[in-house]
Symmetry: C2
Subunit: 608 residues, 2 copies
């Protein structure tokens, strides 16, 4: 009965852009290019803070091309323009832009961004870019790739010059996060950071990633959807002096009073350039992460006389090792999420056979169940709600246009998460809506066996996510199939749902350490037919098996659809793991349920 | 009855060096250093051809320090000297050198060669090295590490100046390998190489690795133990012109007549420097592998005006993909080896309970059984024959001094291999000599399960050895134990037993491809008690499971000791794999056996 739920607040299903806007905006932008004396302009999806979500005021790529995906870059040449996207967006991008004016090119299939961009700018031309929106590493690579053909030039953003109705920047209030939730005072974190800076031979660091700044200063905000971020910049020196630069709208006397301990160190962002100049003028050695910092920051520091120390943002690794308070918060969040999931899955089991459920109704219902919990602040990302063949589109996002009704018998893939005050969740379940085929049960069981193999893994300290990734894939590989995404990503504690620098895939070669939280989400996708993914979040912990060994604690608490399991493929230890897991879900969640939902959960978690 | 066998020819058990020689030789070398006006001299184990074995004329490290291991480097300073070794040699090195004069330092445990070397040369001193014995990458790294403290200077080798009784260089004859064994003519290989050079933008390549030269020219030799190498240098240009430079003793009219098709392109090595000068003088772009070429070659080319193209030796990857003829040869070699192994293991089963077997007797017997086959040309490395606690020393080599008698009940680890005319083998078996403990059977079974997991693996093209390594480790990790070596290395086809650029460990990130041959050798080592390793060789082949998938063919044919298996730990598919494997060993080997050995093999390969 989804119609009885209040409308979802977190996710919108409207078409967000109109291809008809592309032509006039391109024309206006090209006039700006001519005026600036340049032959091309780069428009990345990213803002200066590199998050997956950007505020409306930074959605330049969508403004010009219509494309609203979470990654991509456009190059606008004098005649032609191109939009470079990854395999997630091969369907969405051409549907959102005007393909008569913009070539949509998938990067990664034998094409390299740097090389392709060169085709859109005249030989010996000037390609302009906004140095706040690109990292030093990106600019270095582009410069190398385009050497001898095209010259790069930093400029003030040309899109902003034509964007007459540009929204104001976000000005959500900053809130303090208490030490009992963070587990460590900001003062103690700053002390560790100062020690790290000294070890790297740096006098200071400039931070631009909101996850680093929020974690370091124990603050949260709501400047972007899906992550409780405060957008801004921070500088920290090795004597633990810290300054935070944010939009001046955040600095009213009333708001400053609400964050009193921080008030002295918060400054309007207009003062940030002067701070960079001061660091340079004092000849400081300043740590800048070439992979994440704005090129504008690196250039300003160098121009003012600073020596750059190019290293990974020194907050990322400490932040990834969650302390006991953060883990307690994550466990609490997963219990709250487990209660919502039980209600949702029980509702789904009852409603799916009617044949009336739509993908949007499923998202709406899930959000409503989550919102019954008052500390649920947001979705941690737009829910992936894929019915039947839409489940095979790995990063599918339903819109009113694509909204599919789930036919009984089809598989339903739901990948969702929430931001609770206590922590961040991310869970995928794939459900049968009627009798499944033998092939579907075979594939589901192989995905499950991989998920269990990661869940049960023990490994010596020093082992990376790259090393254990194959444990999740081995059973699918035995059947000659695979999945084309990583097995797991890092997850923040009441921060972003995707965070580095660790994960489970061949890209992640840093050792896993106790306290790190990761997703474990193997899948299988049969194009045009169905998609399967099973995802739990895990926390790395010390193992009792031997000193120096680590293992995983499962955080996620929701039943896995037993109707989709081919029991003959499960080995005894796998069956034991599943039964133990389901018993734990029952023990932890069932006391918070009543009536039909409780009855449903007890049946759904009964031993195999 | 090992005493009835003829003495082993391939392996010597004598102590190879006398620490008493170290003092006078160091003194003479330091006099040379003074005369040359330098403050230190580097003596690596490697010769210019980077093989694991060096001819006696190149054994400078052993001549000066007494250390005969297969890897290491010494630095001789004015006062102190140091010998840097890896963890394989922590026992052997101090026993062979004079530790009152030479510090033995293990590299890799928080110590870096470049940094440590600096401690043996006075501040602002000159450290000399022979540029034929170091690669450009090594010299670059040392220069960086020692910057501001020590200056590096290439010199004519100072050891050679004092080595009055230095042996002559090897002058074994070159033999041609027929196209039906190589599967591809040298002309066709040269054509591929020319194409590769053009793709890399190079006009020519200089080769110094004997495996590359021997494979490319379809020649073999016996200049060093254990690998059928011809030592020399080759140049190849993009028009397929090739020249081979070898010791002039190899170029008698009689010998040239025996390799007639090659005669025109073989030159005395004395002409090699002029060839480098000619390439440089013509301003050629010359491919040099900075990881394996001599710095002297790179320096000579640059000095003469060449542009260096620094890339991996372009022969390594094509060579690693064995063709059908090479694979047929490898299969043949493994059948011959399997026959010898069956005889050996039957003999061991009968002899071990007597309590009279020594490690040397075991090596001698195994060699004798192999030498019954006339096409067995050499051992592919010195056999590792570890009784009881010696089995826990991963690269143990028995000498008359360490020779241990196998007490009934101890485990016996034998890692050995042979060079047959048809191909190269490498096999490890661990045998019980009496009732094993529960712990030993648990560990053996976990090692076996890992070995089987690799053997049964299927994986999509593009998968590297780094990705599948954990399949071999997972069962040991579950028990909180591990092994500190790679799971597998590449193996040559009638070439070196260790060859790059692929393998199974986190170091090897290149994709595995059909035709590549690898070892699969997980292990477990309990220091002071016992060692376990089980090793088969595998060839990568296309899998029938799905297009684009690969799997392994097992080449090695020898029983795995069933007495050491804890059957309760084996899952049904693992048991099925073992029974199928043993049935294959029986089918392929048993027809070549008679009498007691045949009876033994049939029992040893009976289904579990």
């Amino acid at each position: 009965m989804p119609a009885t739920f209040p409308p979802a607040i977190f996710q919108s299903f409207a078409e967000k852009s109109d291809p008809a806007n592309v032509a006039p905006r391109l024309e206006a932008l090209r006039a700006q290019m001519t005026q600036a004396g340049v032959d091309g302009f780069l428009i990345p999806r990213a803002d200066a803070h590199r998050g997956e979500s950007v505020p409306p005021s930074e959605a330049r790529l969508a403004y010009i091309t219509g494309f609203t995906g979470s990654a991509g870059v456009a190059v606008i040449g004098p005649e032609r323009a191109a939009l470079f996207i990854d395999s997630r967006y091969t369907l969405q991008a051409p549907a959102q832009t005007d393909t008569t004016l913009v070539d949509v090119i998938e990067i990664g299939q034998g094409t390299t961004l740097g090389t392709e961009i060169g085709n859109y700018v005249p030989a010996n031309g000037v390609l302009a870019y906004d140095p706040w929106l690109h990292t030093p590493a990106e600019i270095r690579e582009l410069t190398e790739r385009l050497a001898g053909r095209v010259t790069l030039r930093p400029v003030a953003n040309l899109v902003d010059a034509i964007w007459t109705d540009r929204p104001a920047p976000p000005n959500a209030p900053i809130t303090l996060r208490s030490d009992n939730l963070t587990g460590k005072s900001s003062a103690a974190k700053l002390e560790d950071l100062a020690t790290a800076l000294q070890a790297e031979g740096a006098d200071a660091v400039v931070l631009n990633l909101p996850e680093s700044i929020c974690w370091l200063l124990n603050i949260r905000g709501s400047d972007v959807p899906n992550a409780p971020f405060v957008l801004g910049y921070a500088t920290v020196d090795k004597d633990r002096n810290v300054a935070l630069y944010v939009d001046s709208a955040k600095l009213t006397p009333e708001r400053l009073a609400a964050i009193r301990p921080l008030a002295d160190l918060v400054h309007p962002v207009a003062e940030f350039p002067a701070a960079l100049e001061a660091l340079g003028g004092a000849g400081k050695r300043v740590l800048v992460d070439p992979a994440t910092a704005p090129e504008a920051v690196a250039a300003a520091l160098k121009a003012a006389g600073a020596t750059l120390v190019e290293k990974r943002d020194p907050v990322l690794l400490p932040k990834s090792r969650k302390n006991e308070a953060e883990l307690a918060g994550m466990r609490e969040a997963h219990k709250l999420d487990g209660i919502a999931l039980a209600k949702f899955l029980a509702w789904f089991a009852q409603s799916a056979p009617t044949g009336a459920l739509t993908e949007i109704a499923i998202v709406t219902a899930l959000e409503a169940f989550r919102r019954e919990e008052p500390t649920c602040l947001d979705a941690s990302f737009d829910t992936i709600s894929g019915a039947g063949p839409n489940g095979a589109i790995v990063h599918y996002r339903v819109t009113e246009k694509t909204n599919r009704t789930l036919a009984p018998g089809e598989l339903m893939l739901v990948d969702s998460g929430a931001q609770y005050l206590s922590g961040t969740t991310d869970i995928t379940r794939t459900m049968a809506s009627g009798p499944a085929t033998d092939e579907q049960r075979d594939r589901f069981t192989r995905v499950l066996k991989g998920m269990i193999a990661i869940s049960m893994a023990r490994f010596p300290k020093g082992t990376s996510g790259a090393q254990i990734d194959v444990l999740a894939r081995q059973f699918l590989w035995q059947a000659g199939v695979t999945y084309n995404h990583g097995t797991g990503h890092g997850v923040g504690a009441a921060l972003s749902v995707h965070e580095g620098p660790i994960g489970i895939s061949s890209r992640y070669t840093l050792p896993l350490e106790a306290g790190m939280v990761l997703s474990n989400e193997p899948g299988y996708y049969k194009s045009g037919e169905y998609g399967i993914r099973i995802e739990n979040l895990l926390a790395v912990r010390d193992s009792d098996v031997a000193p120096g060994f680590l293992e995983f604690e499962t955080l996620t608490l929701a039943p896995i659809d037993r109707q989709l399991i081919d029991e003959t493929l499960l080995l005894p230890p796998e069956r034991a793991w599943l039964n133990t897991y389901h018993a734990r879900v029952r023990t932890e969640i069932s006391p918070h349920l009543t009536g039909e939902v409780k009855t449903w959960l007890e049946a759904a978690t009964a031993p195999l």
